[in-house]
Structures are given as structure tokens and as C-alpha cells.
């Protein structure tokens, strides 16, 4: 039972981790686009 509850908690954390990772990757892409496109304009 304890293992199961731990597993649920870990899954929840991992889902949060994926969301955090996607947000961070998005920020990195926007920064790249800004630094590149600003020069192209």
C-alpha cells in the first residue's frame, strides 16, 4: 500500500516536472527566436 501511494506521488511529481520542462524549453525557444529574428527585421 505504501509503495502504491509513493508511486502515485512520484507520478504526480513527474507530471509537474514535464510541465516545468516544457515551459522552460518554450522560454529557450522564444529567447532564441528573439535574438535571431530581431536581427532579421
Amino acid at each position: 500500500m505504501q509503495e502504491t501511494s509513493q508511486q502515485v506521488m512520484m507520478d504526480a511529481r513527474r507530471r509537474g516536472a514535464r510541465r516545468t520542462a516544457l515551459i522552460m524549453a518554450g522560454i529557450a525557444l522564444v529567447v532564441f527566436a528573439l535574438s535571431f529574428l530581431q536581427m532579421v527585421r
Binding site: M10, R13, R14, G16, A17, A28, F32, S35, M39
Partner: protein
């Protein structure tokens, strides 16, 4: 403290026995941390061998050993290898190993991406180093890659692609660290209870995500200028070479803090342990790191004082740069205050940490001198700059990496290193590094330019002293390798779980060596046992 009730029953699913599976396909934060650290050590010696070529050529005036173009390749490659191949991966390795242990997480949040982050690096550096054997030669325009100079040399495409790969690796590593720290902390490990090392990496990871894409943008424009007929930085086509310098240093200045903030974190772990006192001013330390990170974004043009900036810009960047001395001073005073009245002992990690505080501060002071825009017109592009950034990067970043290795090595290997040889390594390093870099201040003040293979005979004596220091500092690092090999394979002295009498924090509650899997059941956090004591007095 927390009880890591994790270990005995997990031994049956330890590390894979197949070498290839274990090391090439690893998703374990400890193994990937080890890979990063070994990679960084190899790169440290490759980059160091380039430095030996530079110091050998500069041993006396005149051209004697290498062709000028090869000398320029050496200065460029030394910097690229040391910055992107040695210092940054070493800190990522330390972060990989220690962050999950320090916050009570079973692993990094995204273990497979962690594997990919590491395995990009050897290919990136194989590509970069292969240019030394290519027909066009290696990049030779300096690590800053200023156009048009950098575009005139060989291997621009390989250099740009290698930098893209390193950038992708760094960004993925940073994403992983942020996701781990924000989502994987054990219950009760609030943000303001985290060890300073974890805080320093969290802030560094945000810096990396903010600036590595800017470098990627800049070098992509270099690539298109070179091969696709664009004129971003080509004045003849309506572009502006100074624009490149702005973009590069918008990355480049935060980059130097990327290399020093985790060092601050390491030192903030080691000094309380060996002073047997909680860190003085925990919150101030965290906010100081955050302040330095913020300020790092608004000081970039202090690298460009001599390029012809408007007076208002020179004044702004001068004062903004000098402002960084305030949070940095907070940190130095807090380290000293932590030691004040402590029951200090001087094991090897503590010796390196104390040397860090003193010598990094010297590098900080020469940085303040360089921040003065009028004075910088004299210092710009001289050996004074070389002396300055080697004090902050070698006696700063590299010393902290060495200190961290000695500090956590018994936890990693389960065996104590040789304290005698550790101290031999320390005293040789600290003496010869000063013989190597201190005379370069005098050379710079006397006007010796950087990045030249030949020089006026007036500079001969200090160059010879500096080269002797360089050879002996380089040789001293072989002691480090010997100590590491002995600690991993030869040492008979077992490490205890806590290892150091004054050590506090979750990482010391797991056995030594740290089992393959830790904290599969989250630990219970006891505030009294945190390295910085009670946060809310």
C-alpha cells in the same frame, strides 16, 4: 535527521553489470554525474595541454616552438575547451550527483533526457577538437569569435555546430535541474530550506536557459554570414560587427556567472562543515546569488568599453558593474563570518575553500579595476585581463570544483582519499597558480597585449616566471589524478556515512558509497540537521 530507509532492500536492483548498458544507456543521476565529472577531467587535461603550449611559446621572446596561426588556435581552443568542456560539465556533474541527494529526490526529474544531455557532449567536442587535424585548421579568432576575424579562419561551420550541440546539452541539463528542484523535493524541503548549493544551481539553470539560446542565435548568424551571403555583421553589406559583440556579451557575461555561482554554492557547503557552524546569513546568501544573477544581464558592455560606446552607456555599464561588488561582498563577508569563532579544521576541501575565498576576492578586485571605464582603456586586451579572469576562473571555479571533489569523493566512492597527498596537491596548486598568474597583472599594466605569440623583451622576466608557474601548476594536477585513482581503487580506509564530523544535510544520511538508488521513499526532514540551521529565527 532524516532517515533514508531506502537501501538494504534495494541492493537487488543495483547498477547493471554490463559495462555498455551501465555507462552508455544510464538514466541514473549518480552514474551520469560520474560521466560528466570524468569527461570534465579529461577535457581539463586537454585544455591544460593547450595552455602548456601557450606558456612554452611565451617562455621567452621571439618565435621558437609553434607557428603564430597555431598559437592562435591554441588560445582559442584552450578557452572553448576549458569553459564549455571542463568547468561547465564539472558543475553539471556535481549537480547531477548531489542535487537529488540534497533535496531527497530518487533521481533527476527527466532521467532519459539527462542521458541525452551528457552523450551530446563527447560528440560536440570530438567535432571541435577534430578541426585541429582538418585542412582549414581549428578556430583561431579567439573564443569570443568576433567577426570579421573569426570568419577568416578555418572550420567556422564545425565550430558553430559544436557550439550548437553544447548549447542544446546545457539547455536540456538546465531544464532537468529546474524541473528536479521545483518538483522532486522531499516533503518538508521548502525552497528556503534547500542547501545553498541547490539554490546556486537553480539560479544558474535559469541563467543558462536565458542566455544559451542567445549564443546560438549569434553563432547561427556567423554561419549565415560566412556561407549564406547574409551581412548581419558585415559593414560592407549594411551590417554591424559591433552588434555581434553586444549579442555575444549579452550571453558572455551571464556565462561567467554560470561558471562561478555553483562555485559559490560549493564553498557555502564546505565552509560550514569544517567551521562546524551553520552558514552565516543563509537568506542573504541566497538573495546575493539571485542579485548577482540579475545584475549579470545589465553589465555586458563592460567588455566593450574600448569599442566606442556613447558616454552615457559607458557610465551606466561602469556603475552597474561596480554594483555587483555589493552582493559579492555580502557573500565573502558571510563566508568569513561563518568561519569566525568556528571550531575549524583544515582538511583538503577546507584548504581549497579558504584559498577560493582569498584568491577569488583578488580576482574580484582586479575586476573592479577593469570596471572603471577610463582605466579600462589602458587595461583592455592586455595580460591584466588574462590575470583577472584566470584568478576568478582557476582559483575560483576550478578550485571550487577540486574542493567539491575532495569533499564529496568519500560519499561517492565509500573510501577516504589520502589526506597527505590531498594537501600536497593543495600546496603545490596554490603556490604555482600564483606564480603563474600574479606576474600577468604586472605584464598587463606594463602594456603586454593578450593573444600574441611574441612580445617585447621588456616583458621577458615576468613571462618566464609565469611559464615556470604554469608548468608546475600543470604538473601539480597529476597529483590530483593520483589521489583520485587511489581513492577509487586503492584506498583501504572506509568512509563513514557522515564522512565529516561537522557535515549536515540529507546527502550525509545515505551510506557511503551512496547506493545506486536512494530516497525511493522520501526522507523526513528535521530542521535542526539542515546545514544552515533554523532559517526562521
Amino acid at each position: 535527521m532524516a532517515h533514508a530507509a531506502t537501501h538494504d532492500h534495494h541492493d537487488h536492483h543495483g547498477a547493471p553489470s554490463n559495462f555498455f548498458v551501465r555507462w552508455c544507456m544510464s538514466t541514473n543521476h549518480k552514474d551520469i554525474g560520474t560521466l560528466y565529472l570524468v569527461f570534465a577531467l579529461v577535457m581539463f587535461f586537454i585544455g591544460g595541454s593547450f595552455a602548456m603550449v601557450i606558456r612554452a611559446e611565451l617562455f621567452k621572446p621571439g618565435l621558437q616552438l609553434v607557428q603564430p596561426y597555431f598559437f592562435n588556435e591554441m588560445t582559442t581552443m584552450h578557452a572553448l575547451v576549458m569553459i564549455f568542456g571542463a568547468v561547465m560539465p564539472a558543475f553539471v556533474g556535481l549537480g547531477n550527483w548531489m542535487i537529488p541527494l540534497m533535496i531527497g529526490a530518487p533521481d533527476m526529474a527527466l532521467p532519459r533526457m539527462n542521458n541525452l544531455s551528457f552523450w551530446i557532449m563527447p560528440f560536440a567536442f570530438a567535432l571541435l577538437l577534430s578541426t585541429l587535424f582538418s585542412a582549414g585548421g581549428a578556430p583561431a579568432g579567439g573564443w569570443t569569435m568576433y567577426p570579421p576575424l573569426a570568419l577568416q579562419g578555418g572550420s567556422v561551420a564545425q565550430m558553430v555546430f559544436a557550439i550548437h550541440l553544447m548549447g542544446i546539452s546545457s539547455i536540456m541539463g538546465s531544464i532537468n535541474i529546474i524541473a528536479t528542484i521545483l518538483n522532486m523535493r522531499a516533503p518538508g524541503m521548502d525552497l528556503l530550506k534547500m542547501p545553498v548549493f541547490v539554490w546556486s544551481w537553480l539560479i544558474t539553470a535559469f541563467l543558462l536557459i536565458a542566455v544559451m539560446p542567445v549564443l546560438a542565435g549569434a553563432v547561427t548568424m556567423l554561419l549565415t554570414d560566412k556561407y549564406f551571403g547574409t551581412s548581419f555583421f558585415n559593414a560592407a553589406g549594411g551590417g554591424d560587427p559591433v552588434l555581434y559583440q553586444h549579442i555575444f556579451w549579452f550571453f558572455g557575461h551571464p556565462e561567467v556567472y554560470i561558471m562561478i555561482l555553483p562555485a559559490f554554492g560549493v564553498i557555502s557547503e564546505i565552509i560550514p562543515t569544517f567551521a562546524r557552524k551553520p552558514i552565516f546569513g543563509y537568506k542573504a546568501m541566497v538573495f546575493a546569488i539571485a542579485s548577482i544573477a540579475f545584475l549579470s544581464f545589465i553589465v555586458w558592455a563592460h567588455h566593450m568599453f574600448a569599442v566606442g560606446l556613447p558616454l552615457g552607456a559607458e557610465v551606466f555599464f561602469m556603475y552597474a558593474t561596480m554594483l555587483i561588488a555589493v552582493p559579492t561582498g555580502v557573500k565573502v563577508f558571510n563566508w568569513v563570518s561563518t568561519m569566525w569563532g568556528g571550531s575549524m579544521t583544515f582538511e583538503t576541501p577546507m584548504l581549497f575553500a579558504i584559498a577560493f575565498v582569498i584568491l577569488f576576492t583578488i580576482g574580484g578586485f582586479s575586476g573592479l579595476m577593469l570596471a572603471l571605464a577610463p582605466a579600462d582603456f589602458q587595461y583592455h586586451d592586455t595580460y591584466f585581463v588574462v590575470a583577472h579572469f584566470h584568478y576568478v576562473l582557476v582559483t575560483g571555479a576550478v578550485f571550487s570544483i577540486i574542493a567539491a571533489t575532495y569533499y564529496w569523493l568519500p560519499k561517492w566512492t565509500g573510501r577516504m582519499y589520502s589526506e597527505f597527498w590531498g594537501k600536497m596537491h593543495f600546496w603545490n596548486s596554490v603556490i604555482w597558480v600564483n606564480v603563474l598568474f600574479f606576474p600577468q597583472h604586472f605584464l598587463g599594466l606594463a602594456g603586454m597585449p593578450r593573444r600574441i605569440p611574441d612580445y617585447n623583451v621588456a616583458f621577458a622576466n615576468f613571462n618566464m616566471i609565469s611559464s615556470i608557474g604554469g608548468f608546475l601548476f600543470g604538473a601539480s594536477q597529476l597529483i590530483f589524478v593520483g589521489v583520485l585513482i587511489h581513492a577509487v581503487w586503492g584506498s583501504k580506509k572506509k568512509a563513514t556515512d557522515r564522512v565529516w564530523e561537522g557535515a549536515k544535510g540529507l546527502e550525509w544520511t545515505v551510506p557511503s558509497p551512496a547506493p545506486f538508488h536512494t530516497f525511493e521513499v522520501p526522507p523526513v526532514i528535521n530542521d535542526d540537521e539542515l546545514a544552515h540551521g533554523h532559517v526562521d529565527h
